[in-house]
Each structure stands twice: as structure tokens, then as C-alpha cells.
């Protein structure tokens, strides 16, 4: 069941690997990042900070904001698991909690078991880590412009995640537009150009999601 997710992860992390080596990170280091993080957006922002030699404090803040959604997913998953699953397996299962694995686990009507949850996480983990290694190695052998082009896959994925719900839900569209404006201001306004990428992502995320949460609070049944 984790197979389609594993294949999807492989191709996207191939782009991550290629992008990382194009920015001067070694293929094996990029693979290590994927193996210990297992998160697309967080890793991508982390890579930007490593390349820009940002501060560790900035790294912590960026990861907290970008990955804050996982805390909600972990909460929801913890409730589905009930009391049957103990503390130690939870320590392991938490590591595999990504957007897609969470979606699969929540969609399954059967009671969740430890072997099931770990099995569900295995192929996506292998796909994500293996894809990064393959992308990193292939990227090292390719000219710089091709490497950069492969890195664009990651942006393609982000766009594919954002656009369909923005088309359906007005609140998401507003969130996207606010984040877009904020991000452009930080990029092009004089005086704000010195603000690092990590900080501007954090500010734009908090501002846009905060404004949307005030204007369009979600109903209890439509939370995801």
C-alpha cells in the first residue's frame, strides 16, 4: 500500500538530490538529510539555510513553522491509535508521519496496528532516501543547468499540492495570495532584502496562515 507513495517520493527526492548537489552539497550528505528528516518542504528550506550558512536558531524556527502541521497529524493519528499502542512503538511511528502516510493511515477503516503502520512507512522511506541518493549521484554527473532543471521538480510538486485546494476553497486561495504578496515584498522591497530566506518564509507563513485562520476558521469536521 505504501508502494505508490514510495514511487512518488522517489521521483521528487530525485529532484531534491539533484538540487542539493547543484548547490554544493555532497550526494551522501543529501541522502543523510533525507534519511533523518523525511519531509519535503522542511528539508528544502533546511537546504537553503545550510547553503546560506544561516544560524541554528533560524534553522529551528524554520523547521518548527514549516513542519508544525505534523504536530496536528501526530495528534490525530495518536487518537486513532487509542490505548492499544504503547509508548515505544509511538516513538518509532512518529518518525514516519508524513502527509501521505498520514492520509493513508487515516483512510484505513481497520484498527491501526504497529506492524501495519511501520510497513506503511517503509517503502516511502526507502523511496525518499533512495531517490535522493540517485538524484545526487546522477546530478553530480550532469551539467549545472540540467541539475537546476531537475531541482525545479520540487517546485512543481509544491505547486501541484497548493493549486487544486486553492481552486476548491476560497480560504486556501486567499492564503496563497497573501503568502505570495508577502514573499514578493521580502524579495524585492528595498530594506527587506537583507532579511534571510528562512526568516522571510517563517514570517510569510505565520502572517498568511494566521490571517486566514482569523477570517476563515475551519469547522471541526473539515479539519484535515
Amino acid at each position: 500500500m505504501g508502494l505508490p507513495v514510495g514511487l512518488g517520493y522517489f521521483s521528487v527526492s530525485f529532484g531534491f538530490g539533484a538540487m542539493a548537489v547543484s548547490q554544493g552539497i555532497r550526494a551522501l550528505d543529501a541522502t543523510l538529510i533525507s534519511a533523518v528528516n523525511l519531509t519535503s518542504a522542511g528539508q528544502f528550506a533546511g537546504l537553503t539555510l545550510i547553503v546560506a550558512m544561516g544560524s541554528l536558531w533560524e534553522m529551528v524556527m524554520t523547521q518548527i513553522v514549516i513542519n508544525s502541521r505534523y504536530s496536528l497529524m501526530s495528534l490525530a493519528l495518536a487518537q486513532r491509535m487509542g490505548q492499544r499502542i504503547g509508548f515505544l512503538p509511538r516513538l518509532l511511528i512518529a518518525f514516519f508521519n508524513t502527509d501521505e502516510i498520514f492520509a493513508l493511515a487515516m483512510a484505513d477503516p481497520e484498527p491501526l496496528t504497529v506492524p501495519y503502520l511501520l510497513g506503511l512507512g517503509l517503502l516511502p522511506f526507502l523511496g525518499w532516501t533512495g531517490g535522493t541518493l540517485a538524484g545526487g549521484l546522477a546530478g553530480s554527473a550532469l551539467p549545472a543547468d540540467i541539475r537546476a532543471a531537475l531541482g525545479v521538480m520540487l517546485y512543481g510538486m509544491f505547486i501541484a499540492i497548493v493549486i487544486p485546494p486553492a481552486k476548491q476553497e476560497k480560504a486556501v486561495l486567499v492564503t496563497v495570495i497573501l503568502a505570495l504578496i508577502c514573499s514578493c515584498v521580502f524579495h524585492w522591497a528595498d530594506g527587506l532584502k537583507t532579511v534571510s530566506v528562512g526568516v522571510s518564509i517563517v514570517i510569510c507563513t505565520v502572517a498568511a496562515a494566521g490571517a486566514a485562520a482569523i477570517c476563515f476558521p475551519v469547522e471541526p469536521e473539515e479539519e484535515s
Binding site: S11, Q63, A78, L91, A149, H187, I201, T205, A208
Partner: protein
């Protein structure tokens, strides 16, 4: 600073975000604001990371812009994640190779 320090801090932060709610707080979030905020975070953050960075990620601004337009169009038409990513990357390669050829003449 060593890259491994960065990777360690990044992985530890990410893991704590996932593990704390799963082990310690097992009750649902009461605050409606917080739940709504977390619902919108992925969209805000992915947008802020993509634009305008995509324009500067490739050798030429034009190929980055073309990738953006194509990806938004395909995603709007409901194409899969993989199709959108491959198309974005494909058009960049095509345009840049095309521009190289063009520059020869």
C-alpha cells in the same frame, strides 16, 4: 559550522514536532484558531517557498517563469503531482537547450 550540526538540529526539531503530540498530548486541540492556523500553514509555506524563488532557481529567469506557468496550468487542470513536476523540469531543460542553440547563430 559543520553541515552535520545543521542536519542534526534540523532532524531533531522535525522529530520532536512529530513525537511530542503522539506520545504526550493525546487530547484533541481545543483552540479553533490553532486548528485553523495549522490547516492553512502548508499552503502559505509552500507558496512562500516557491515564489519568487523558482524564477532564480534556473539558469535563466524565462525558463523558471515558463516552469511556473506550466505547473500552475497543469495543476489547475487536475494533473497528478508527478506529471506536474516532470513537466516543470522538462520545459526548463527544453528552453535552456533551445536558448543555447539559438545563441550559436
Amino acid at each position: 559550522m559543520s553541515i552535520y550540526t545543521y542536519i542534526f538540529v534540523m532532524a531533531l526539531t522535525t522529530y520532536l514536532i512529530r513525537v511530542i503530540p503522539m506520545t504526550l498530548f493525546r487530547r484533541p486541540l481545543k483552540s479553533r484558531f490553532l486548528r485553523s492556523f495549522l490547516h492553512y500553514v502548508p499552503y502559505a509555506c509552500l507558496t512562500a517557498m516557491t515564489f519568487p524563488a523558482i524564477l532564480e532557481s534556473t539558469a535563466s529567469r524565462y525558463s523558471g517563469a515558463a516552469a511556473l506557468v506550466l505547473a500552475v496550468f497543469l495543476a489547475y487542470r487536475g494533473k497528478s503531482l508527478l506529471t506536474v513536476s516532470l513537466a516543470a523540469s522538462g520545459i526548463v531543460i527544453l528552453m535552456e537547450q533551445g536558448m543555447k542553440l539559438f545563441a550559436l547563430f
